[in-house]
């Protein structure tokens, strides 16, 4: 079920928690995106988290910190984080940092 539309939308499925992030991720927006995701992850401690980033049309290096931080948080509670359907802006940035060697990029069919 989808939560009310915003930059961050959560979707619980049998596979785990999907977090749809939309719009622009920069140092400013990363603060609220991080807070929302962390609240949810801390509360529900999902085994699998899919960070679905197809709707991200801008991302700078603040987004790298955001992804790495969530990866560490999920890992800490014994789960696994995947980046699903990243947009070109996201892929470009992750490649630059060599991050795709660490975090698995997956295809994830959007149910919404």
């Amino acid at each position: 079920m989808l939560r009310s539309a915003g930059q961050v939308v959560f979707e619980e499925t049998a596979e785990g928690l999907t977090v749809h992030v939309n719009g622009e991720i920069d140092h400013h927006s990363a603060v609220s995106v991080r807070r929302e995701i962390d609240e949810r992850i801390t509360m529900s401690r999902p085994k699998r988290v899919y960070l679905e980033l197809s709707g991200v049309d801008f991302m700078d290096s603040s987004g790298l910190g955001l992804i790495m931080g969530r990866y560490a948080l999920v890992k800490q509670s014994g789960g696994e984080l995947y980046v699903a359907d990243p947009s070109l802006a996201v892929v470009k940035m992750m490649r630059l940092a060599g991050m795709e060697r660490m975090i698995r990029l997956v295809k994830h069919k959007k149910s919404s």
């Binding site: 920069d26 603060v31 801008f58 290096s61």
Partner: protein, 150 residues
């Protein structure tokens, strides 16, 4: 090693922007620069690169140069002969102690937060050349140079 950009080209148009160092202005800063550069008819990829590089430079001013104090950021965009774009991002903040070290990939002074330390690496990868001058206690100027395809 990238070739240094010959920057003797004459300026054909110029825009100057002064804005308070507040994170809420990051989006406006990169969008304004992109809108001004659009008159050179850049590709979508070139615009995306410029926006990203500007975002990194402006974020550095807010996160590092001014940290928790108020300050002003000056952005000066020059469109030069030969489709060369020069974007200078200047602050009057704390300055960088060691510029060479700051430009290293993954270098960050922010151990507590979630800064990736990739700011300068992004600027360097998305531009043809990045020039940094800094004086402790006086401020930093980052000049992003990018030549658009014909």
């Amino acid at each position: 090693m990238k070739k240094r950009v010959d920057f003797s080209a004459s300026v054909e148009n110029e825009m100057r922007l002064f804005l308070p160092a507040k994170s809420v202005n990051e989006g406006m800063a990169r969008a304004s620069v992109a809108a001004f550069c659009a008159q050179l008819d850049p590709t979508a990829l070139e615009i995306a690169d410029l926006k990203c590089a500007v975002s990194e430079a402006v974020t550095n001013c807010i996160v590092h140069a001014y940290r928790d104090v108020e300050g002003e950021i000056e952005i000066d965009v020059k469109l030069c002969e030969g489709r060369l774009i020069s974007i200078s991002v200047r602050d009057k903040g704390c300055g960088i102690e060691n510029v060479k070290e700051a430009r290293q990939p993954l270098f960050t002074t922010d151990a507590e937060g979630e800064r990736s330390g990739m700011g300068f690496t992004v600027m360097e990868n998305f531009c043809d050349e990045v020039r940094v001058t800094s004086r402790l206690g006086k401020g930093t100027t980052v000049v992003l140079l990018k030549r658009l395809h014909k």
